[in-house]
Symmetry: C2
Subunit: 200 residues, 2 copies
Amino acid sequence: MTNVLQVIPARQGRAVRLQAGQAIRIVNTHGTQVVDTWCFNAADMGEFMSMEHLHATLGSIFPVRGEPLFTNRRRPILILEEDTSPGRHDTVIAACDVHRYALLGCRDYHDNCTDNLHAALRQIGLRSDECPSPLNLWMNIPVAPDGRITWGEPLSKPGDAVVLRAVMDCVVAMSACPQDMIPINGADCRPVEAHYEVLT
Amino acid sequence: MTNVLQVIPARQGRAVRLQAGQAIRIVNTHGTQVVDTWCFNAADMGEFMSMEHLHATLGSIFPVRGEPLFTNRRRPILILEEDTSPGRHDTVIAACDVHRYALLGCRDYHDNCTDNLHAALRQIGLRSDECPSPLNLWMNIPVAPDGRITWGEPLSKPGDAVVLRAVMDCVVAMSACPQDMIPINGADCRPVEAHYEVLT
């Protein structure tokens, strides 16, 4: 079976099921795009990858290549098997939502990662009560020793990719972040598409 | 009306309702005790103080004296009005739970902040589907520029206190963290009681 590269359209979300042992390769096609990423236990949507549990179990606010990502029950759900980027992925910032854009001055509806998560799950017949705090791939949020955070631009280059291998049967959801009001998706504030493929 | 100092017994949780404008003073009686703290909108338990939303809105992983604490709808729910301690309160580590203690080698049930939250809410007739990531008062978790976290001992001294003023009608829950397997509650790993009073 040939792996097929799938698009995550700009400003949209996608979700895919993985069996234990399968992996997903997520590609930062243009190098500037943040991809908010979630993972749920396929057998129980109440168990999901949790950044606050990851911090405690891993001892770091940045994911570490070769190390697992943990659920809210502190079990490994994915392994960050490969990462061709400098490894700066954010784990402390919530997914954007309508409230975020309203605070930034947006008066109309704005695409957002929270709604993208729920739409992507519905597209494959699933739902989650929660929008867990995401693994924000390529989102560059330096944290200073005094706690201050900086909204940086991605350090990745076009074609950089991560491979996440499933430890249990799970559902991975991704959102090509539609943030265009601050330069988190590159200096030109232009959200673009990303890609993924399931490695079989 | 006289304010009454209430105990949060060692290893246990308590919850209290606040009306908008009221405040709660939480006291680190012995100076070494971490108090996991949550806050819910009294009219909708689905809206709660959220650390991942706080990080984005405040621009810091440490709460700032005089500044609000935000909900998962990015609304102010409490204001950190006073803080006599050095201000090192953790916002990146999940509440401890049975899974945490099992990973540390505990074979029997161990008191934990997650169960304390749910018990404290039930005691006043409420429930939450979630255990939101808590504001861990006095928990000293330095984060290095490379992302590594350190499990420090509290920097607070006996009697240090914070005052949290309610911006909306809300419910504050607190757990005197029962962690006694690592020295997060002081070098002697001895969880002790803390206190609180509602300021009317």
